[in-house]
Each structure stands twice: as C-alpha cells, then as structure tokens.
C-alpha cells in the first residue's frame, strides 16, 4: 500500500530536507552543548579545566567535585526540605488553583466579571517585597514551612490557564450531572477533574518546578539553617565562589586540590537540575498537550 502511494520527492524538496536537517542539528547542538559542557567539566580534573582543555570530552575523570559538595552535611537535609516544600506546596497549589478556577469558569457564577477582574489585577500589580514581608511576619509565618508554601498558593497565570481549560468542557455535561442530583463540589470532583488530567499534569509540573527552583522566599522568610531548601545552599556555592579577589588568597580552594571553583560550581548545577529534569519525561506527554489546549482556545 504505502509503496504505491509514495510520492516521488523532487530535487528541490530533497535539498530542502537536507538543509533543514543540518539547521535542526545545529540547533540541537546549540541547545544541548551547554548542558553537556557543564556535565563534562563537573567530572573533569580541575587542572585541565582551569587550563581550558576541556571542551569536547572529559579529561582526567574524577568525582571529587561531587564529593566536595556532598561533604557539606547540610546538603542532605536541604534536599529533604526541598522535597517537602515541593510536594506540600504543589498539593496546596493544585487544590486551591482548581477550586478558584472552577467557579470562574462557570458562566452562571454570580459576579464572575468582578472576581475575574480582582484576580487578574494581581497579575499586574503587587504589594511589593516589604509589605509582603510584613504580612508574612504579622501572620506569624516567619521561619515556618507555611511562609514558603502559602504566599505563592495560587499563581494567577496558571489559574487562568486552568480556568480556560475548564471552560471548554461542554456545559451540558455539568447540566446533566445537576439533573442527576450532583452538587457543585461533586461536579468538580467527579466530572471536571477526571476530564482535566492533561491540564493537571501541566500545572503539577509548572508549580513543582517553581517550588524546586525558588530560593528567594526561603531566603527572606526562613531564619534557621535547618529549614533551608537546597537551592539556597547551592546558589551560595555558585555565586560566592569569586571570593579571593580582595583577600590574601594563598592556599585557597583552588590551590591544593584538583577541584577548582568551576568544577565545583558545575557539579552543583548538575546536582540541582537533574532531579527535576527527571520528572519531565513522565509528564511530557500531558505537558505539551495541556499547555496547547489552554492557550490556543483561550
């Protein structure tokens, strides 16, 4: 079948194809190489790195940079904290966002334009850092997990994507559920959510990545080191590396060991990125579909 239907490719098309592939390959290289470079530097010997000899293949493979990072005993606890903040935070996000999005998606919701406006307004105006800090302080949330997970409980933009998705579910479904005696919560739980798996997966990913990467709220709201998420520690390592500029730098990190600042930093980047990167493949299918549906028909 397929043989008979095959259309003969014209020369022009062939050339186009070749050029297309080359361009795409270059594009792939450009996007993948930085990640690859970070990886090979993180496992190379510092001497070769500082001499600029590592660019295609790792040289003098060693894991000492990773060892150095993990020798910092705070890292493990911080990892645990990050996982807790991410799961608790994402759960709160999803519950509250969908409970906010559903009423706003219903055309028969009284005062809908007003509420939509009030909610959307926060996308463009915010109180600013200091007022926010004062609110968190007065609510007694400082130095607790709630200061991390509650202030960003609903991301307006994500919520609106969700609302738009809910709007596209035929109203007749909900009406028939009503006729069968279901109330609003039951409709949300039994009709809407089961139909919204793609958007839910997308939101989980959006929110989880946001929590995973967030460091600033933890920085200002948390005081005890034991509550710090991993990003704070890692960021400190990456940024504060340029330390010796103004001081007697003899025997600095860079001198005595095979680990130079760059290995160390790149190992840190790998460590912080890989776990969340591993989540993507599992959600990717829903992810692409979900965003598209939300956006295109919005």
């Amino acid at each position: 079948m397929s043989k008979t239907r095959k259309i003969k490719m014209s020369t022009g098309y062939k050339i186009f194809n070749v050029i297309n592939h080359i361009l795409l390959l270059i594009l792939v290289f450009v996007t993948v190489y930085p990640m690859y470079y970070i990886f090979i530097v993180s496992i190379s010997n510092g001497i070769y790195v500082s001499r600029g000899e590592v660019y295609l293949l790792p040289k003098g493979i060693t894991l000492s940079a990773y060892k150095t990072v993990f020798q910092n005993s705070d890292i493990w606890r911080a990892y645990l904290n990050t996982i807790i903040y991410t799961t608790v935070g994402t759960a709160i996000n999803i519950v509250l966002s969908s409970m906010c999005a559903y009423p706003l998606s219903r055309k028969d919701f009284y005062g809908r334009p007003v509420f939509t406006f009030i909610v959307a307004f926060t996308m463009f105006m915010s109180g600013g850092m200091i007022p926010l800090y004062l609110v968190v302080l007065k609510l007694g949330l400082i130095d607790t997990i709630w200061s991390i997970v509650l202030p960003p409980a609903i991301n307006t933009f994500n919520m609106i994507i969700m609302r738009t998705f809910f709007q596209d579910i035929p109203v007749s479904l909900q009406e028939s559920a009503f006729l069968d005696g279901a109330n609003d919560l039951q409709i949300l739980w039994k009709i809407i959510l089961p139909l919204s798996k793609p958007i839910m997966a997308t939101m989980v990913l959006f929110y989880a990545v946001q929590h995973w990467n967030s460091f600033f709220s933890a920085l200002i709201y948390l005081n005890s080191k034991s509550k710090y998420p991993v990003q704070i520690l890692l960021r400190n390592i990456v940024i504060a590396g340029e330390f010796a500029d103004q001081q007697t730098s003899i025997g600095n990190v860079e001198s005595n060991f095979a680990v130079v600042a760059m290995n160390y930093k790149y190992a840190v980047i790998i460590i912080s990125v890989v776990p969340i990167l591993m989540v993507y493949p599992f959600l990717q299918k829903h992810f692409a579909k979900g965003v598209m549906i939300g956006a295109l028909k919005g």
């Binding site: 005062g111 080191k225 400190n236 504060a240 003899i250 680990v259």
Partner: protein, 550 residues
C-alpha cells in the same frame, strides 16, 4: 429576579465570613508580635553596671540566648553551637544562636530586616549601613558604652585612631571586626621568574623595564599573551593607577599620601592619570598586553596563566602561588613569584596594601535589646585575649595551647584529623570549631590561623615564605586609608556626581589605551571631568576628613 437577589445575599454573607476570618486570624498574630516587641523594648537601660558583678563570676547571671545574624560563606559552613560557642557559653553563660544567611544574598535579607526593623539581637552590617540607617534609631548607640563600660574594646579603639571613621556624627553604631596578626599583602606585580632565569632576563626594576622584559618574552614565545587581565578596564586601572603615580580608589576618588602631605584626589581628573593611560597604551601597542584585556573574564585570565600562555599579571599577588601549583603539574620548574614594586616614570615606588586591620565588617546591636549592659560586657569580652582565643582557636587544651610567648597555637593532633579535608584543611577546621573571621569573632584571625594550620598539615611551601618575605621587605607599600564618614547630603551629592562622571569617563579609557585617541586629547577629558564636579568631590572628602581630625 428573586433568585439573583438571594444569590447577592449569599455572596455578601460569604464575603463577610471571609473577612471576619481574616481579621480573626490577624488578631492573635498581631497580639503576639506586639507582646514580642513589648518584651524587647521593656529594657530601659537600667544602670545595672554594679549589679552585674555577680556571684557566678560570669558575664550573664542567668543563661541568656543572643541571636546573631551574619553571612555564611560556602567554604566554611556554620554549625550552631560548635565547640567555640559551647566554650563561650561555659565562660559567659551566653548562648549564641546563629542565624546565618548565604553570603551571596546576605545584602537582600539584611536590607529587608533593616527596612522592616525586625532585627536579631546582633547583626553584621557594613560601614555604608551605618550611613543609611544609623539615624533611624534601629541600632543601639554605643559611644557612651565604649567610654564608660568597655575595657578591651576601648583599648583597641584608642590604639587604632583610624577606627573613628566608622562613626556617624560622633556616634558609634556598630562594633568593627578587628583583624588579629593579619599578614599584609596587596595588589602586586607577579611574573614567571623561572622564565626570566631561563632566558637571562633581569628582574625588571622599573615599569619601563617591565614592558621590555615582557616584549622579549613575546619575541621568544610569539603565540603568548605576556600580560593578562581580568574583569574589565576599570578594575585594572584601579589596580595599576596608584603604582604609576596617580590613583583610582574604587570610584576614582582616592587618598594620595604624596599630594600636599596627603589628601583626597579624584584620580582621572589629574595630569598624572595620563601616565596610567599612556603606559597601558604602550603595553597594548607593543603587543604585550592582552588585546582582549577589556572583556577578558576571570576564567580566561586563569586559563592563560595556568596554561603557560601568560607570564605576568598585576592583581592580588597571592594568586601567583595558586597558579604555580597548577603550572607545576606539567612544568615542574614553573614559578610565579611576586617582584618588588618597580619604579614608575618619576622614579617612585608606590603600592597599597589591602585593608587588613578593619575590613569593613561591623556588628550592630538591636536598639530594642533587653539589658544592653550585659550584652555590651559580653561584646567587650569578645575583644579580650581570652575571647579572641576562643573565637579563633577553639578550646584551650583540646584544640590549642598557649606557647611561651603567650600566643595561641593549634594542637598538631587535632589539626592532623583534617589533613585531607575539603575544600581545605583550614576551612574544615574553622567550620568544625566555629571560629575566625567568617564566623562570629570580633578580634578575628584569618592568615594567622591559616598559616599555622598549613604549616602543621604540610601544605606550606618555601615559595610561601619567599612570597611573604618579598612583600614584607618592600617599602613601597602603604596602608590603605579608610574613607571618612560623610553626612547624608554629602553622600547623596557624591553619588550624583559619580554616576554621571564615571559614565562619561569609563567610555574614554579604552579609547586612549587602544590608541583611538592620542593621549594629548586627554586634557579635554580632564576639563570635562572638572566641569562635572570632580573638584567638588575632592572637596567633600577632604572636608569630611578635616572635620574628623578636629
């Protein structure tokens, strides 16, 4: 119609409910924080100076917790209640509770706490915070305590007259961290001495000879970049300007010992500054200076030096020893070593040490603190020999002993445990004990402890001794001068002038170095700089200095 009316009512009720919930929640929280501040402010400085001479003989009668906030450097993770803090608790009954903030974002957090007046008991601040927040009343004014109640700190205060520059309108708002036995070094010329020897080149004694030597090396190694730089034009002008008879400071304004017996000068607006630019221009034209000097990053700079592509740098001279170690992995002869400061075109040798005695860090006390007298006593004790030994060497008998000269020395058995620790033995020890400058120490060690530990672990080498001897014997270095405190209006004016002035100037430097403009055209730039307020800047600083000296 009826239905929608009912809905409006329901909606209204919902709103009322939600609002009452919010206010209901807010109340207890508001109360508790009110009680909090009440507690802290119920501390009218009772003149309890005599009462504190208590039976326990410790600084605090009762067990007391003090919250201290300071930045944490990634090389030295801070543990709460490490041995040094346990020892402090034993001696003084004061339990230090550290709130550490990653150093990369310490400024952000500090600014928020200062702006919301939500400080811990003791907080690390910088000199500029004193200018910005000193008059707002969030820091405890300290001058009276220094004069009347303090012993150890007062002694230091009187011995280091320069410290008066951390005051604001005669009032002290933070205790400066004072360095103890710090080895001094600074920006200096570092060259591949092994290559000089190999090719029979004389160690350059003047800056002109330096260029000649580098040019010869360039002839021998045509692919090399003899002189590498990092971090941009301005940073490098900052480093070299003073040696060449001008100066730059941080923003152009600097203190020159040799002008009118010492005064502030705005470097780029002087005739002397032309020497700096023409010298760099000469280096550029001769092919000695890295053609990419203006955009070269630290990483590229390091790459050039450790791969043997570059032979000279003028930067933190301590780096030389690090790069030597790296170079020797492939070339066992290779050696970067500092050379004495060469003479400039006027035959003068000058250079500045890094600030060592006071590096700009201070600890302020919360104005709302309870029983400030005890806290001040405690802080005073931190400046004592005993306090400093504990906060820099740990526990006497366990981690250090006092030698015959009365100086603390680390115990070798203790240090040996950290021989292979990462990122380096001394950082690991500092972190383990909770000591030195990067922890909470007021009379703080940095190099003194580091040298001791390196000598004990065997990472010390002869090159280090040679380095410190050369720096130590070089008479060219002078102490840096701490800027005098400016009033709020002065600081504002300085900021204004500098912003426009430096924007104008920074565009010019490269034109002269690369040679797009001839150096004679720089006179016009000087004129323009003076027009834009360069002399006013000098005046502001010199007046501030004179005010202080009165």
């Amino acid at each position: 119609m009826k239905k929608s009316y009912a809905k409006t009512v329901v909606l209204f009720l919902c709103l009322v409910m939600a609002l009452s919930l919010v206010t209901g929640c807010a109340k207890p929280a508001g109360n508790s924080s009110g009680a909090d501040t009440g507690n802290q402010s119920a501390t009218a400085p009772t003149q309890a100076a005599d009462n504190t001479e208590k039976s326990s003989g410790k600084i605090s009668e009762k067990e007391r917790v003090l919250k201290v906030m300071f930045p944490e450097h990634p090389n030295q993770p801070v543990k709460n209640f490490a041995p040094a803090q346990q020892e402090i608790f034993k001696k003084t009954n004061i339990k230090l509770d550290f709130e550490v903030v990653p150093s990369s974002n310490y400024e952000d957090k500090k600014k928020i706490l200062l702006a919301t007046n939500n400080l811990p008991d003791i907080i690390r601040i910088s000199k500029s915070d004193v200018n910005d927040y000193g008059t707002t009343g969030i820091f405890l004014p300290l001058m009276d305590y220094v004069k009347n109640d303090m012993v150890y700190f007062k002694e230091k205060w009187e011995n280091i007259p320069d410290l008066i520059k951390v005051t604001l309108d005669g009032e002290l708002y933070g205790f400066p961290v004072i360095a103890r036995n710090e080895a001094k070094n600074g920006v200096g010329p570092v060259i591949r001495v092994d290559l000089l020897k190999k090719h029979n080149l004389k160690t350059p004694d003047t800056f002109d000879e330096l260029l000649d030597v580098l040019a010869k090396l360039k002839e021998i190694y045509p692919n090399s970049i003899p002189w590498s730089m990092r971090s941009g034009t301005v940073k490098n002008i900052q480093k070299i300007a003073y040696m060449l008879g001008s100066g730059y400071g941080d923003d152009g304004i600097y203190y020159d010992y040799d002008v009118d017996g010492g005064r502030y000068v705005f470097g780029p607006a002087t005739k002397e500054f032309k020497n700096v630019l023409s010298y760099l221009n000469k280096a550029y034209k001769m092919g000695v200076l890295d053609p990419d000097y203006a955009v070269s990053t630290k990483q590229q700079w390091e790459e050039n030096l450790t791969s043997g592509k570059s032979f000279f740098f003028l930067d933190n001279s301590g780096f030389g020893l690090n790069y030597t170690n790296n170079l020797r992995k492939t070339d066992p002869e290779a050696t970067f070593q500092i050379i004495p400061i060469p003479a400039n075109q006027d035959g003068v040798r000058r250079a500045v040490f890094y600030a060592t005695v006071f590096t700009g860090e201070m600890y302020a006390v919360n104005a709302k603190i309870k029983d400030p007298d005890t806290v001040i006593k405690f802080i005073d004790w931190m400046y004592s020999e005993e306090g400093s030994n504990i906060t820099n060497f740990g526990v006497e008998g366990e981690t250090f002993y006092i030698d015959e000269n009365g100086q603390p020395q680390f115990i070798a058995d203790y240090v040996a445990k950290f021989k292979d620790a990462q990122p380096s033995p001394y950082y690991a020890i500092y972190s383990d004990l909770g000591i030195t400058k990067l922890n909470f120490s007021l009379w703080a060690c940095n190099t003194m402890t580091q040298f001791q530990i390196e000598k004990l672990t065997g990472t010390w080498s002869d090159l280090y001794d040679e380095y410190w001897t050369i720096v130590g014997n070089d008479k060219a270095y002078v102490e840096p001068v701490m800027d005098p405190p400016l009033t709020a209006e002065e600081a504002e004016r300085v900021k204004d002038i500098l912003a426009s002035l430096n924007t104008m100037l920074e565009q010019e430097y490269d034109k002269f170095i690369i040679g797009v403009k001839d150096i004679s055209e720089y006179d016009a730039v000087i004129e323009k700089a003076i027009e834009m307020g360069a002399l006013e800047l000098e005046q502001i600083y010199n007046n501030a200095l004179a005010r202080l000296q009165q």
